[in-house]
């Protein structure tokens, strides 16, 4: 066996370069295929992560705590008191980097021209600055100052739809404790720029102002918390549940179901691309190897006549494929890694601005080399390439020496 290998390996290597053009074309197909898989995988992973982070940073954070029932029916009867001593202690542990309390209720906003449904959020502005990206997204005016701030920060698109502007007055109506819709006028002091769906939904004001408006004392609707490591989230949620039984504590995947589903299917997209590329590579490899075998019928006949067994021919052609595809895979890996490193400063998407807003990604994507991708994908392509090349090899070993010799060269 070793003897055969020692004999066939150099022969196979030399055979590869007898027709350099064909070899280079095959190398090209394999390496570009693998490169595209690796690059797409990095890009999609980066995009998914960026869009996830960007969305979570707006308001959701990594997890939220509500009173039981609030998520199904976010109204005034499903609020909860501020966190007790045990929960505060649990939230202040180092595996939670930040947390805030908010009052959020559905309401109606009214300008001179329009009346629209919105969600009014009473926030603690100092804590929000640490956990949410909204304070950084103010494009006109200012963010809120303190719990007592009785002005409003609204979204850019909402301002446009209401035909209102900075410094103007809007009326907000929220269902109060007595069941009646409480009205209050707010001065618009800030306009933020997020995605339009978000802008149309959320209006922010000071938490104490809103609590007084709807007459709920110190009650809150939610606690949002942020963890430094997403991997540790499940453990943190468990720990909080133990500290606050009876409250509805959820990780972000269970709060924004769409984002949870997107997160779960992103891997699938990469494998679809992998499947497409594999088919392309297979066709390329089979095509060139089959051609090579047909062209060399005379040669295989000669080898057989010189004493090669038919399995030696099979081995020889398979070796050629192993070397050829292996080389292609190697080049593809190098190209993939080079691409990621070449773009390590991040891909600046800000030029596309509004067009990409719907995807909710941040402005800059940072690609990363994921080790598992660089093991699984190359191995899969190498194995597949060899597998499909068995067919030409099998055709080669079936060649009868007599008939082959009779063929004119």
């Amino acid at each position: 066996m070793m003897e055969t290998f020692k004999l066939l390996a150099p022969l196979a290597w030399r055979n590869l370069w007898r027709n350099p053009r064909r070899t280079i074309i095959t190398l090209f197909v394999v390496s570009v295929g693998l490169w595209s898989i690796l690059a797409v995988a990095s890009f999609i992973t980066a995009w998914a992560q960026s869009s996830r982070d960007a969305t979570l940073r707006l308001l959701i954070a990594q997890g939220q705590i509500h009173a039981e029932g609030y998520m199904d029916d976010p109204n005034i009867s499903n609020l909860m008191p501020p966190p007790g001593a045990a929960l505060v202690a649990a939230l202040n542990r180092p595996d939670i980097s930040n947390w805030v309390t908010r009052l959020e209720l559905p309401g109606v906003v009214q300008s001179e021209y329009k009346t629209l449904p919105v969600s009014l959020v009473g926030v603690d502005p100092d804590a929000e600055r640490r956990i949410s990206s909204i304070p950084e997204k103010i494009v006109e005016g200012r963010y809120l100052n303190g719990l007592e701030d009785d002005s409003a920060v609204i979204g850019l698109n909402l301002a446009k739809r209401l035909k209102t502007a900075l410094g103007r007055r809007i009326i907000l109506m929220v269902t109060a404790e007595d069941g009646w819709l409480e009205e209050r006028s707010f001065d618009v002091v800030g306009v933020y720029d997020a995605d339009t769906a978000f802008e149309d939904t959320y209006i922010f004001t000071g938490r104490s102002t809103m609590q007084a408006m709807v007459g709920v004392g110190d009650k809150i609707a939610q606690i949002a918390f942020e963890v430094p490591e997403d991997a540790a989230l499940a453990g943190v949620v468990e720990r909080l549940r133990a500290a606050a039984p009876g409250l509805d504590i959820r990780p972000w995947r269970k709060i924004s179901l769409i984002m949870g589903a997107m997160d779960a299917t992103m891997g699938g997209v990469i494998f679809i691309w992998l499947a497409v590329m594999m088919v392309m590579i297979s066709i390329g490899v089979i095509n060139t190897q089959l051609m090579a075998v047909f062209e060399r019928t005379h040669e295989f006949g000669l080898l057989r006549a010189l004493g090669f067994k038919s399995r030696h021919v099979l081995w020889l052609v398979t070796f050629e494929s192993v070397l050829l595809i292996g080389l292609g895979v190697l080049i593809g890996m190098i190209a993939g890694a080079a691409t990621v490193w070449g773009l390590s400063d991040g891909i600046d998407l800000s030029a596309f601005g509004k067009a990409l807003e719907a995807f909710k990604a941040g402005d800059t994507l940072y690609l990363e080399v994921k080790t598992s991708d660089y093991i699984i994908f190359p191995l899969a392509i190498w194995a597949l390439g060899i597998l499909v090349a068995l067919w030409p090899a099998w055709r080669a070993q079936k060649i009868s020496p007599v008939e082959a010799m009779r063929q004119a060269t």
């Binding site: 009214q110 103007r168 009646w180 819709l181």
Partner: protein, 252 residues
């Protein structure tokens, strides 16, 4: 109670006859109060027609209405057949609508109060919040005009600080016999947004009255809603059951 009301009425009528100009010139708030009291009186019953011109054409609705005090009103549509039976009841700050096809009374959530009333340029709020112009605004007399030999007071009303009012200001025109001639709504930049004008003044139930009122929104050119009052009686005795939910659903 009726005695007191009648006496008040008598005093008001006498005052209106004898010294309107003197009294009016001094207090724009009182002028508005007088105009709205003239409009609705202590109670009223009227038959009117509402014509709505919108993008899809013109349609007319006939209606019968009752009001009592400052916060009770019932409007019942009588024609055309498609709309007959629809009714709106305002009692305090609650507004109910009745739809005969559903045979259901619905209390409107306050969030729906800004919606159009029967497809017109009026909102439910326009029906129920007539008092707001008197209580929640600061008033200033900004000029007088002459109209058919009578003095017309032009009053600017600016919302009091903190009141939940979207308008930047309103400008109202009141004739010296307490007839409201017009009401203009301005946004906070001072642009006119919508306007109600009394096109025709007549005498109804023995008092001068804006017989025909037209409401226009400036962002919808060519569209308007016109209410023409055909007959009306004022300061009459109305039974209490009139403004109840059961009467809304099953008129006696």
């Amino acid at each position: 109670m009726p005695g007191v009301t009648r006496r008040n009425l008598l005093i008001t009528s006498v005052a209106a006859l004898l010294l309107p100009r003197v009294a009016l010139a001094q207090d724009p708030g009182a002028i508005l109060r007088g105009a709205f009291d003239n409009w609705r009186a202590t109670s009223s019953h009227g038959i009117s027609e509402m014509t709505i011109r919108n993008a899809s054409g013109t349609r007319s609705l006939s209606m019968e209405s009752w009001t009592q005090g400052r916060d009770k009103a019932l409007v019942r549509f009588t024609a055309p057949a498609r709309d007959a039976g629809n009714a709106t009841l305002q009692n305090g700050r609650r507004t109910y609508v009745f739809n005969p096809k559903l045979n259901q009374v619905i209390q409107l959530p306050a969030s729906a109060m800004q919606q159009s009333w029967m497809g017109s340029d009026f909102s439910y709020n326009d029906l129920s919040k007539t008092e707001q112009i008197i209580t929640d605004y600061n008033h200033r007399l900004i000029g007088t005009e002459q109209n058919a030999g009578r003095t017309v007071y032009v009053i600017e009303a600016i919302p009091k600080r903190g009141k939940p009012i979207v308008w930047g200001k309103q400008v109202l025109r009141v004739r010296d016999d307490y007839v409201l001639l017009g009401q203009q709504f301005y946004d906070q930049n001072g642009n006119l947004v919508r306007e109600m004008v009394a096109d025709r003044i007549g005498t109804l139930g023995g008092r001068p009255y804006p017989v025909q009122l037209t409401m226009r929104s400036l962002d919808k050119p060519g569209q308007w809603t016109r209410i023409t009052t055909q007959s009306a009686e004022f300061d009459i005795d109305l039974p209490d059951y009139l403004f109840t939910r059961s009467n809304l659903q099953n008129p006696r």
